[in-house]
Symmetry: none
Subunit: 129 residues, 4 copies
């Protein structure tokens, strides 16, 4: 279901958060769907239950899921969480980090744009399925 890559720069719990966030954004997980149980997912990914719990707690505070005690976590309709300022600020930071990472790699600007477009397109196609 979710790919955990040990060589990834992101910590495991973040990979889980991103993985599920992506599934919600692409529509693979819809409003009202239940997330796998903490214990179930932790066994499946071969990580500690605490790690999954931490990821789930982040999804909770992101407002993407809600907890029904004794039942599990359920996807809810995400609202716009950030203010416009906050949103722009985060966007700028993400772009800066990205460019800084990429600028020394020797790609042409056209190539970079093309690759990003390609990735976004993949996502869009996936969400259409």
């Amino acid at each position: 279901m979710i790919q955990i890559v040990t060589g990834d720069a992101r910590p495991i719990f973040k990979q889980i958060v991103d993985g599920i966030r992506m599934k919600i954004m692409t529509g693979e997980l819809k409003k009202g769907d239940k997330l796998p149980s903490v214990r179930g997912l932790s066994m499946q990914l071969v990580v500690n239950t605490n790690t999954v719990a931490k990821a789930y707690s982040e999804l909770l505070s992101l407002g993407l899921v809600e907890s029904r005690k004794g039942l599990g976590l359920f996807v809810i309709k995400p609202k716009q969480i950030f203010s416009d300022d906050e949103r722009d600020h985060r966007m700028q930071q993400a772009i800066n980090t990205f460019i800084n990472e990429v600028i020394g790699l020797g790609f042409e600007q056209n190539e970079i744009i093309k690759m990003v477009q390609e990735k976004l397109k993949q996502l869009k196609d996936k969400s259409k399925q």
Copy 2:
């Protein structure tokens, strides 16, 4: 000279590395130019000398500067450091991280592409000066 932002996601030493790398890429620092001394830069940026030393050591291992004993660090013509595989892999990771960060922010794909293009254009213009 270099902007250190405390709220930045990147650690300080990385911000220094990126800042100098950027100056080299844009031509602000040319082959043969001398970097500021560790002490000088650490005082200027108000950070620990260890932090600057770590940044410089990374620039050395990146092959962007060379050490002339007793004189300091000097910019050299950057060679292609990464193998093609390494290069592509880093690029893919950077893109993934970027998209993951941005996907939940609610921007349209066109907007994202436009913003990245804008940023790249700024850099290009700066390097032409």
Copy 3:
């Protein structure tokens, strides 16, 4: 510095979050002030370091403090984090929970109002010091 009450309904990490949030709101902790270290506070309160770390991580995501790696956590100027809708919704929930808790206790409405006013006044006075 902070009072941990084992009989409290709130979990320990929440008590820490609330305690520090209160200190920030009342001005006892000002912008730029450093929080006690995770290990220091955990020893002082005789709780596990993870528990303090969890509290600090929540303060971080609340946007009340920022992390300077290797240095510690520092209070920042809190921005308005919630949208107006979100803010009102939380307020309504808090009032409902409060009233539900209090309604069966047999106090007069005047008494309840008076007690809340008293508590708010205490806070205000404390912040003026």
Copy 4:
């Protein structure tokens, strides 16, 4: 009859307890009235029968209803259940929890008082009907 809100901070059984307690306080349920059966209410609210049973058991121990074997639960005249100390202590805790929840939301003290008053007034009006 009773509103169960999945997004509520309170567990379901507590929502049921509060809902019925409120109906007793406002006079909607009077002394001698019969509560719906566990099975009936659980079907009506679409919750587990255990959950309703737990709520009813709490109402019993609160002294708000009495069990007549084979007949069901009946509302009785609520006595003063808590000692004065207990009562004050619960009140203080409720106020603290409320203030902690509300303090970071950016409302003025006047606004808070006004909102609580408003809510209490609604309750009073409802009980007069």
